[in-house]
Symmetry: C2
Subunit: 199 residues, 2 copies
Amino acid sequence: MTTHPHQGRIDAQLAFLIEADKLKSVMRGTSLHDNSRREYTGEHSWHIALYAMVMAEHANRPVNVDRVIKMLLIHDLVEIDAGDVPIHSAAARDAATQEAEEQAAATRIFGLLPPDQASSFRALWDEFEAAETDDAVFAKSLDRVQPVVSNLEAGGASWIDYNVTLDQLESRVGAKVKRGAPAIWDALHTRISAWFATR
Amino acid sequence: MTTHPHQGRIDAQLAFLIEADKLKSVMRGTSLHDNSRREYTGEHSWHIALYAMVMAEHANRPVNVDRVIKMLLIHDLVEIDAGDVPIHSAAARDAATQEAEEQAAATRIFGLLPPDQASSFRALWDEFEAAETDDAVFAKSLDRVQPVVSNLEAGGASWIDYNVTLDQLESRVGAKVKRGAPAIWDALHTRISAWFATR
């Protein structure tokens, strides 16, 4: 039997893609829209990539939607090791520990890829985390706004679980959505205000 | 209160993205790699978009990876209405009924978007379904190969459920993977042969 010339490279790529499967078992604080169960990070990553594909025109500054989509596809892989920390939970306050765990996870997980891809994927993840480029700012906005839509559809869901106020939502979530996609936050504002008015 | 100038457009885009959430509740025949549960179509769509991002270099002919990723993000939305039909199941034989249901689903679901996006998303989905362009052929290869990797990792899984033979796998799956990504099929061949040798 002969060995295919790309065997070693494909084996490394498959090792990464096999590891990625574990993101389907990381549970988030957010529920599905029908409130039937909480969502997993893998499907969340798909949903916000679709948000990018649909909503790119509403970015505050021009973005490269193809880069934004790739960023969103990989942005949460570190949760395989570091877990998901819901933004409204008490655990979200210990940002330094969380960041150290995510950095170590990025090194391990992207390191499964062939070296050239390990570098380029890590650079794209670092760019997302830094939230400085227009693409990253917009990607972060979508990552923040999707749970808002989920909560509105699910009748409150994690806002009820974590006893969130409108002020907290505006400061923890709204400010980040508005930084990259103010038109989307504006468009949701009537529904958000109406929900919190009933609390 | 004033209405935001983009309100109507964003409302239509959100209606589509809210409908898309239902793809997280469509269950596939394939299991997660750790065999803990079957996977949902939303997370499958994320996984194969990541496959495209990693594996594009192995396409049989040059592809536009950004188009392939977008194609894969939307390729299974029709399952919200038409359901998933596992390739090895008896139901997979009634292709005409399945296709009619998927066409109607595409009309309804992409039709939620603003008209310009409804047209462009539908055209991309039609291209995927036709499997004639290089981008679509490669996208189809990834859609077929991911369940093979899952089954290998999960110890057989849906191959056992549907009593699949190596010949059936080669004709139903291998032929389509090889059309767009022969190097990936070659690289998996040793593992596939070894698994079926134990049956």
